[in-house]
Subunit: 396 residues, 2 copies
């Protein structure tokens, strides 16, 4: 057995890791930084999961050039420019930046991670200027988390302490960014998780994959998948403490809570809604229907309008291509059964109850397909005027 | 050879067909009708294509109960209520309505078609009251086209006269409705096409399928597929004239122009954009990428913002799951090459030209994948505040 405690702030709680963020003039008119680093004072194992977009950004291509299971002690992160669709030059630019870094700080196998506009080369001069500004011995998770934001309206960080039965302790912490372009199968998001747990590399790979599947891969803001999506887990083993079950639970908690922060910060979103599809014939069907709901424009606008228009829920299920029947389907808003095969007349009191549920900031839509045992839950948000505004004006 | 002439108005130009629309109180505060009919004074062959949504609405289920290749002389159409997700009762309601109709007008194998809110039984009393109001000998295509509108901001009708080399003539005309919930693989749309051409039933089926594939199946407003989508072609053979090539061209023209009217009327849309994907390895890839573009929220909001953010175009192609490479891809806005592997620096004059193109009401996005010969074009529109407003407030 073990206990998990939430700590204040983020990355500063993990032994041996340092981080900072500075503004080098790419993010204008802001006190927040635009370049950040996370480093360890000893070499780390690293597990990483990248975007499924075929046009992987240059920092991802640069990462993938390292040999399998390489160790690292330095991650450099920038906002405002994704360094994506920049070809071979984009990789050369990163190598050039790291050549300059080596004159300021000895690092091993440095990694870069970028987010921002697609299609332009990095401003190397500005990024390199950060190396004179960084305090490499800082543990400022707040500034780091703020420096990687794009359209985010708040920084996202989280830290947990895990205490095993014998009183031994390890720590795990994470930061992430992401507010739009969020889609199951990863999203425009960067997340960096650090731990001093003595976790073997094989467990890192296995547990990170599992944690991402149950968190970042279950949220949708707008159904788009970016060129830069990245989740990284770094471990420096400093605590010399490890327990697989405890680590699994702590990592799942970190990634799930970070994912919910992204969804709450969904561009222009006001409501966080979970879409549970159960009673499906198989997992594939459950997942397909659940994701169709969290991505549907008509469902999302109905959520924004606080309209319990369950017909759009039913229609989306029907269009999703899964096995389903009109007479076995049941739809609930929270605990309220709003559609069943027996309901054929408008029921005013039922509608009134549904309107009340829709007014909440957070609620459940549950669709029981009635044909099997498989279930899947994904998480979405409403689509507001604000989303359109943010994305119409993104580059201006 | 043959000539095709556009005629004024719509269904009134086809011999032997009658139509009208009246308001029975379901559409409130409007001079437009809410129930309409289209009938022929002789029996017609009918070809129909229905939604791919598994929850087909009751009028579609009612249609499918007739024997294959049945003939009909009457279609009844209502707005405001989709009669979908209404179970067996929804079909019984239609049968009851047609029992009443038979007391006013002798009809054979009548068909119903509905559009509106999902999940409630039809108001039979109101619909039946239309039978006393209809002028069954009217040829009022304008009132008919207006009566079937939902969120449409204008009526949609079109009529063509086809003259063959020997001077013989046949006519073809169509009306349709649809403004939102429009997606490739049909959409929330109803379309009724009438002809007096002497077309064999097998040609009707073949040519309607082909025409829908090249028109209604290529447009997207919001990526949703409704429970009620219907395209019907009725022929009464009255002209005794027919030529397959001429009919094909005329039918394609009717369905394509009606589809473009739907897109122009896309809820809150200001721009009509064609997404041509060419140079794809195969047709499946070309179609997949083209449809991903016309459905992407980020692409659609960038169009609304008149921002030539080609990075979102590239990212959407990359996320679509097709075979593609960064170094063979070329992206054009109209004739302007905006992305190629050679472009690695911001070019102010190129950007300025792109901004001008984006300000047009209509333009092309062309993506040359550079890996093969397959091409596919789909048509989309921008996503505006107005779309969110219309769909947030749809039922209220």
């Amino acid at each position: 057995m073990f206990k998990i405690f939430s700590l204040k702030n983020g990355l500063e709680n993990v032994e041996g890791f340092y981080c900072d963020g500075v503004n080098v003039g790419m993010r204008q008119n802001s006190i927040d930084g635009d370049v950040a680093f996370i480093r360890s004072d000893s070499l780390c194992d690293i597990s990483a999961i990248f975007t499924t977009n075929i046009f992987q950004a240059s920092p991802i291509k640069h990462f993938l050039k390292y040999p399998k299971d390489f160790k690292t002690d330095f991650i450099l992160i920038n906002a405002k420019n994704a360094n994506a669709m920049t070809g071979e030059q984009g990789i050369l630019d990163i190598e050039n930046i790291f050549d300059s870094l080596s004159k300021h700080k000895k690092v091993t196998n440095p990694i870069m991670s970028s987010t921002g506009v697609i299609g332009y080369r990095l401003d190397q001069e500005k990024i390199i200027s950060s190396f004179e500004k960084f305090d490499f011995n800082s543990k400022n998770s707040d500034r780091t988390a703020r420096s990687i934001m794009t359209t985010d309206s708040f920084k996202k960080e989280l830290s947990l302490k895990v205490e095993l039965d014998d009183g031994s302790i390890f720590n795990i912490a994470g930061i992430c960014k992401g507010a739009g372009m969020i889609n199951p199968a990863m999203a425009t998001m960067l997340s960096f998780i650090t731990t001093d747990a003595n976790i073997p590399k094989t467990d890192m790979d296995e547990l990170l994959m599992e944690a991402v599947e149950n968190s970042f891969n279950k949220i949708s803001v707008d159904g788009d998948t970016s060129t830069n999506d990245t989740v990284m887990l770094l471990s420096n083993k400093k605590s010399e403490v490890y327990n697989k079950d405890a680590f699994r639970e702590a990592l799942n908690k970190i990634t799930f809570e970070l994912a919910m922060m992204i969804l709450k910060d969904g561009e222009g979103a006001n409501k966080l809604v979970s879409f549970e599809v159960k009673g499906a014939k198989n997992m594939k069907d459950a997942q397909k229907a659940s994701r169709a709901l969290s991505n549907s424009l008509l469902v999302k606008t109905a959520l924004f309008g606080e309209d319990p228009n369950w017909g759009r829920i039913a229609s989306t299920i029907g269009a999703s291509g899964i096995d389903c029947r009109e007479d076995t389907l049941n739809i609930y808003y929270d605990d309220l059964l709003i559609y069943s095969n027996e309901f054929r007349e408008l029921d005013k009191s039922r509608e009134d109850k549904a309107y009340k549920i829709m007014k909440q900031n957070s609620f459940k839509v549950i669709c029981d397909i009635g044909l099997g045992d498989a279930s899947y839950t994904s998480y979405g948000c409403d689509l507001s005027y604000e989303y359109v505004k943010i994305n119409a004006e993104y580059r201006t």
